[in-house]
Amino acid sequence: MRISLARRPTRPVCACEATVETRRRRVDLRGVALPIVAVALWWALSASHVVKSGLLVSPVDVLRTAYEQAGSGALVRALLASLAREACGFAIGATAGFLLGGALGLSRIAARIVGPSFDTFKQISLFAWIPLISVWFGLGDAAKVVFLSLAALLPVAAHTCDGIHAVPRKYVELANALRYSRLQLIRYVLLPAALPSIFTGLYLALIHSWLATLGAEYLLVAGSGIGNLLIDGSEQFRMDIVLFGIVVVGVTGWALNALARRVERTVLSRLHIANQ
């Protein structure tokens, strides 16, 4: 028993998802029970017509809507539109954030001049800017992409900067002792050491920009997208469209998360960096 105690990890487990995955492998069935019961109850309630409300659609209705939307191509169009915008915004924002974060991390002067302003800006709710952004950039896709880029930029810049700052001093001293040039220092020491933090930033940026995509589609209504599908559903008073939209949003969010985690794991293992 003492041996097994000693083998237990002494550092706290980081990500909740990791723990969940190990658990799932053992007790898969128990977790599935609750959703099944919930759906069954829902179906029973809607079929029995106990509650008289146009809002209580049955699971069958939602499935039918799903089939219609998927079949008519409306779903694919809306999803592609939203994802395209998000990809665009994420790419621009992540790149800009990476450069900004790098500058803030590497240069003390830049950190002093720009840092506090950036810190402040980070804490202002981004959605309050939407009406201004829509006036400055019009009601179309440009405004949405600007907003999404901002949403992606903030976490990437913050985490890149923090990652660089958190590089242990002894690595830098070793590099200095080995007479690394500035560029070599950045490329071989700082970046790899900061990479886990940068990935956390990218991961957060993905989540935030997906959230921002939805918000932007609610508030800057022109165009097509999943958010528009949701709002249209709520305006046409169709709960089945709304529920279908929610499922799509959830699944897409999960898929993006999973993709980000897979990429992170691959890159880090390729570079032989331990994920903390």
């Binding site: 809002l55 019009g138 009601l139 209504v221 022109a222 305006e235 046409q236 008073f237």
Partner: protein, 354 residues
């Protein structure tokens, strides 16, 4: 953000200047903003001469030979959203209501009103079918949806004032047309100040109309018009004249009682049913509502809107209305099409002239 905007502005100014010098240079596309959410597939709207023009593709046909495309842009945010687009220089013409244009003019946007398109319409107040609200007086302390900044707002304010109420006595939520209809249907709000879209809800049994304003006097009517941006007008007066010609033609077709049936069927493509249009234009000749004239009634109404907006603090400085209208093109079109006496001119109080 701001340097980008400055650069864009400088670039636009440079382009505008060069376009002014090359005055014969024609635009490749004419952009018309519509202060309504387009519905149907393809998106369209109804209820005015502008809708007729768009539905019958009259402008597209007119400019096809010149290779100029016509783009109709719909705005779910109605008048206020059109204002943002105008400020952004994203439009050349706009079909908009009286109040939003006054708001824009008060804030320095340079436009010219060419002709009227949809006049003497009113607002309707709808409530859930089982509601205890019977008239405007009962709206006190209730949650009412008013689409702020559109021409619905001022008529609503006037109606409230006539009942010794104002917006502060209510709890006003700003919702666009579609959202307010949904909120009314789901009983999320107590009342909605709306337009002909309410008829559909009434016919479905989802709402009751407790007040219709168009017969109660001039200050309970709202007007809409076609305007052009100053820059475009100076650069392409010939195109402006041709657009106005087309609109006057369509206005005449839309005012002919023989076309009443065809007109409502045309407008029904926007999703607002034939029955709704019948209800909207009940007891009113088409000429009365689709007249494009800029007569003393119209001028007086716009002046009143400007004054009321100032009084209600919707604008911060007074707006000069006289220099805003540009009836030159309209008069040319009327003369050319021999329609000078087709529509009645009304005086400031709404009585027919002569």
């Amino acid at each position: 953000m701001r340097p980008h905007r400055v650069l864009r502005y400088l670039l636009c100014t440079a382009l505008a200047l060069t376009s002014l010098y090359a005055a014969a240079e024609k635009p490749t596309v004419i952009r018309i903003g519509v202060a309504q959410q387009g519905a149907g597939d393809p998106p369209t709207f109804g209820g005015s001469t502008a809708a007729t023009v768009q539905n019958q593709q009259l402008l597209e046909k007119e400019f096809a030979a010149d290779g100029i495309k016509v783009q109709w842009l719909f705005f779910k945010g109605a008048g206020p959203a059109v204002n943002e687009a105008i400020a952004d220089d994203a439009l050349d013409f706009a079909y908009q209501g009286d109040l939003p244009s006054v708001l824009a003019r008060a804030n320095g946007l340079k436009t010219r009103i060419l002709l009227e398109s949809g006049v003497r319409s009113g607002v309707k107040v709808g409530v859930p079918p089982d509601s205890d609200i019977k008239s405007i007086k009962d709206l006190k302390d209730r949650r009412v949806a008013i689409f702020r900044g559109t021409n619905l707002q001022l008529v609503a304010d006037n109606a409230l004032a006539a009942n010794q109420l104002d917006e502060h006595a209510l709890r006003v939520i700003n919702l666009d047309i579609a959202s307010s209809l949904a909120a009314l249907a789901s009983k999320g709000i107590d009342a909605s100040v709306n337009d002909y879209h309410l008829y559909r809800l009434r016919d479905q049994g989802l709402a009751r109309i407790v007040y219709e304003s168009q017969h109660d006097g001039p200050q309970f009517t709202r007007q809409a018009h076609l305007l052009v941006l100053d820059g475009f007008e100076k650069a392409h007066p010939d195109i402006v004249q041709r657009v106005v010609n087309v609109f006057v033609q369509a206005a005449q077709w839309s005012s002919d009682e023989a076309n009443r049936d065809a007109l409502f069927k045309l407008w029904a493509k926007s999703g607002v049913s034939y029955a709704s249009w019948q209800a909207e234009f009940a007891e009113q000749p088409l000429k009365y509502r689709n007249s494009p004239l800029i007569d003393p009634f119209i001028v007086a109404r716009y002046k009143a809107v400007a004054q009321d907006a100032l009084r209600l603090k919707l604008i911060r400085q007074p707006v000069d209305v006289d220099s805003w209208f540009e009836p030159r093109y309209l008069e040319n079109a009327l003369r050319a099409q021999k329609l000078e006496h087709y529509w009645t001119r009304y005086d400031a109080a709404g009585k027919p002239l002569g």
